[in-house]
Amino acid sequence: MNSTDTTAGPDQPSSDQPSSDRSGSAQRSGDGDLALRMTGVRKTYQLGGEEVVALDHVNLSVGAGEILCLLGPSGSGKTTLCSIAGGLLSATEGEVVVGGQDITHYSERQLSGFRSETVGFVFQAVNLVPFLTARENLLVVDELGRRSGKAARSRADTLLDELSMTDRAKYLPSQLSGGQRQRVAIGRSLMNEPQLVLFDEPTSALDTKLGEQVMDLIQSEMRQRGTAAIIVTHDDRITRYADRTVHIIDGKLDA
């Protein structure tokens, strides 16, 4: 499924709906305490000459260290929201501030730099580089971003240790189990010490028991680092791992 698959269909409501801040973060005074602030974000696509609204004037704030669960059915716009928050897509309207950086008008190149330094991703299909070992999959983040060399290698080793993957550091993804691959993907997402980590259906490819283990791991890693996370899912069992759950339907947030 690509990003367009997650957009709202042409029969969905228009973007003229009133916007609302349902994030519950009103107590936070400024962006200094926020990992993410989205204000009046709207995302539309042109499909067969018609405008399709994927996100409709969304306001959302995520505090530093907060774990937010974004729950919604397929096509609700949760992936689009996640993509905009992670700098993978640009909003059609509105303002997006991540870790104090206003990325609303960033160029492609600036967004690449932003992604390599400020956010982490864990994808649904894990998507490790198949010909790199577990350790190298972590280090690839350093190679693509600011090269810190020895510090990066040390950080990769620390992360693998925390994820109980030290003994599998030299294994290729094909030699790892699904859960181990997911651990490596979590490690990769933390390599750049991000302000915000975006998890896209992190347990969808895992059985229930393994899924719970992975969610426990995500929760403890985020808590330990004070890193904010948005977990995109359609599985409401995940919500118990989050500080807050936000529902999204037809491109609009609903607490």
Binding site: M1, N2, S3, D5, T6, T79, C82, S83, G86, L88, L89, R109, S112, G113, R115, S116, E117, G120, F121, F123, Q124, A125, N127, V129, P130, F131, L132, E136, V140, V141, E143, L144, G145, R188, N192, L198, D200, E201, S204, A205
Partner: protein
Amino acid sequence: MKVALLELRRRPGRFSTATVILTLIATLLMLLGGLLDGLLDGSTSAVAAQQGEVIVFSDTAENSFLRSRVSPETRDLIEAVPGVAAVGGIGVAQLGGRVPGNADRDLIDVALFGYEIAPDGVPKLPAAGEAYADRSLESGGVREGMTIELGPQRTPITIVGWVDGLAYSGQGTLWAAPETWRDVVNENRPGAGVGDGVFQSLIVQASDGTDPMTLPAAIDAATDGATDSLVLDDAINAIPGVEQQSSTFNQIIGVTVIIAIIVVALFFALLTVERTSLYGVLKAIGATSRTLFGGVVLQAVVVTLVASAIGGTLALVLDLAVPPGGIPYTLLPARVLSSVVFLLIAAIIGCAFSLRRVLRIDPASAIGSGS
């Protein structure tokens, strides 16, 4: 970049098809170049070895040794031209040679040169009736100390030593004193006889500080148009067949390079399509299109260098295996280098066809994808 190199190291099989095809192309390119250089060498090396900057033909000779005659009087005029340091006569006769031990009708083709200024690699003038032989004639049965007979009049010439790599019009050469050459021509080509002091051509050495490029015009002016003078490179290209050979082979080499571009373009375009998902993920975690495309180019360059190394080795083995006087094949370092450069340029141009595809990969495709 490191990721691209690791992929090459860990998944060599993925690049084996391209490597094999590019190796064949590299080998073909170097073989064609070697054949071209061999042919050119066989046609021109005797002229290219001349120790002078300008070659003077008579005005009606159309730059052909066989048609040209330069008289002693004309030579005097040329020697008086400012900037001319030395002048030496040269002449050539192309004849059949009978070799002792070979069948009576089993003639070898030779080009007998009479010279005054020793060309590069040729010793000082031998005595009358003697000549140095190009080593390629060894394959025709010629041996040092042997007396061979030239032309219908069977003029005897004794071989007193060897020279290497000096051929003319595809024939092995003999290098003799001017009188020996004159005697052979007058005995065997009575219709084309040459008088005392007459040469077919003159080799002119420029004095220090003289621009050789200015000499041909000055010489032709001094002889009042009785001569047609050329700098050495132009004289080499004027040898019959040289330009045609170069043109034909260069066209074949050009087509081969185009095939290399197509091979690289197709291969890396397919590889890029296969990697769309991976590139989407890498872009999502911060890779720029430039970084990804740089990796594609790096892989193409490495594959090309490996293919060139194998192709170069095969071409070198052939060069060592071909005996002197066998097929005209000469592998020159400059030719190997130019072939590698052509292939590298082809690889980079071929990769450029993948650039658009890499640019179009949407990093957002990494998210929401369960495939």
